[in-house]
Amino acid sequence: MGFLNSLRYCLRQTLLSIVRNFWLATASAAMITVSLLILGSFGLIALNAGQFLQQVESEIEINVFLQDVAPVNDLGREIRALTGVERVTYVSKEQALEEMRESLGERRDILTGLENDNPLPASYRVRTSNAEVVPAVARAIEKMHGVDKVRYGQGYVEKLILITRWVNVAALFAAGLLALAAIFLIMTTIRMSVMARRDEVEIMKYMGASNWFVRFPFLLEGMAVGYLGSKVAVLILGFGYYYLLLQVDQVSLFFVQLVTDQQTLGMLFGALFALGVLIGGLAGSISIRKFLRV
C-alpha cells in the first residue's frame, strides 16, 4: 500500500520534471536518437556485411591440383586431418574433363579426343568452416607431397576479411563515442532537474524518505528520456530500412542481398531500444548519486 502511494508520487514527480525541463529533455532525447541512429545504421551495415561475408565464405573453396603421380588417398586423409577443414571432395581427371565439357555447352566439341590424353589434373576441392582459416589451410596443403598448385582466390579473401573487421571496429568506436556524449547530455538534464528540486530533495531526506524514493523519479526521468529517444531512432531506422529494401528490390542489385530476416532485425532493434533506455537510466543514476550521500 505504502509502495503504491510512493510509486504514484514518483511518477508524478517524473512527469513534472520532464515538463519543466522540456527543451533540455527533448535535446537529450534527440541526442540519444542520433547516437542510436548511427549505432543502428552501423549495426545494419555490419549485419549485411556479415551475411555477405558468410555468403562469400560458403562459396570459397580451395582447389588443390594434384600431380599425376600423387598418392591420392594419403593426400585426402592428410587434408581432412587439418583443422578448419569441413569437406573434401575428390575430382578425378575424368570428372574434371566432364565438368569442363558441361561448362562449355555447345562448343563442347573442341574437347573431343582428349579422353585418352587428358591434360586436366585431378584435384581436391576443400571447403573450410570459415573464410578466415582459408589462407592457413591453403599454405599447409601447398607443402604436402604430390600437390601441384593451390588456388583459392588469393588476396581477395584476405581483403574482404580485413574490410569487415575495420567496419565493425569503426562502427563500435563511433557509436561508443556518441553514446558517451548522450550519457553526458542526459546527466546534464537530470542534474538540472535535481538542482531545480534541490531543496525538496534535502527536505525529503530530513523527512525520512528512503534513498530509492528520492532517487527513483530521477532514474525514471533518465529512462523516460532514453525511451523517447530510442523509440524515435528505432522508428526512423525501421522505416528507413524498409524503404531501402523496396528500392533495392526495384533496382535489383544482383550481388547485394539485404538481410530481411524479421527475427534478426527485431533483435537488433530491440537491442537498440534496450540500450537507449539503459543509457538514460545510467545517466540518471550517475547524476543523482552525489546528491544522496547522507
Binding site: G2, N5, Y9, M207
Partner: protein, 229 residues
Amino acid sequence: MIQFYNVTKLYPNGAKAINDLSLRIKQGDFAFLVGPSGAGKSTIAKLIFREEKPTAGQIFFNGRNALRFRGREVVAMRRKIGMVFQDFRLLSQKTAYENVAFALEVTGVSRWEVRKRVPEVLRQVGLEDKMDRFPAQLSGGEQQRVCVARAIVKNPVLILADEPTGNLDPETSRELMELFLEINQSGTTIVIATHAWDIVNELKKRVIALESGRIVRDEEQGSYGYGVS
C-alpha cells in the same frame, strides 16, 4: 531514549566539535542544549539524526546501537524524529497544507490518511485558517509553526529543534515554546538547541550546557547561566 557514550567528533578539517561527551536523554524529556556558537550544539543534533557519524564513541537510539543501523533502519529511525530548523526549510512553491502533507507523502502514507491528518496538526499549531497560504504569505512565527506541524505530523518520538527561535521576535518565540511544551505534554521527547537564554531561564527545564565540545553543566530545571541576564 538517546545515549551518547564517550562520543568524539572530529571534522575533516581537524576541528574537534565534540570531545569525549556522554549524555542521556530519557523518553519524555524536554531538554535545552545551550552554549556559545561552535560549542557543538548543532553537531549533537546532527549526530542524533545520523547526518554525521562520530569519530569515536557509541550512540544508542531506543536501546539500539544507532551506528550499526543500515540504510533501511536509518530511514526508519529518521521517521521517528521530527526536525525543526532555524531557517524553517519550507518549500516555497507549496502551500502550508502541502508542505505538511509532503512529510507524509514522502514516507508513503495513503492520500486518505494525509487528508485526515494534515488538517489535524495544522489546527493543533493554530493555523487551521491559513492552510492554503504559501510560506511567503505567512509571518516568521507562522512559518515556524508550519515547520513544527510538519515535524509532528508523523507522530515522532523525538523532536529535534536547531535554533528554532533564531529568526523570531521574543513574543513569537515564547508562543512557539508554549507549543513545544504542549507537544511535550503528550509524551514526545523534545531537544532544543538554542541561544535564547531568556526563554531557557523562564521555562525551568533541563539544561545541558556545552562548551568547546564538552558538557560543562547538566541541570534539571536549569538556567542558561552565562553571565548574561
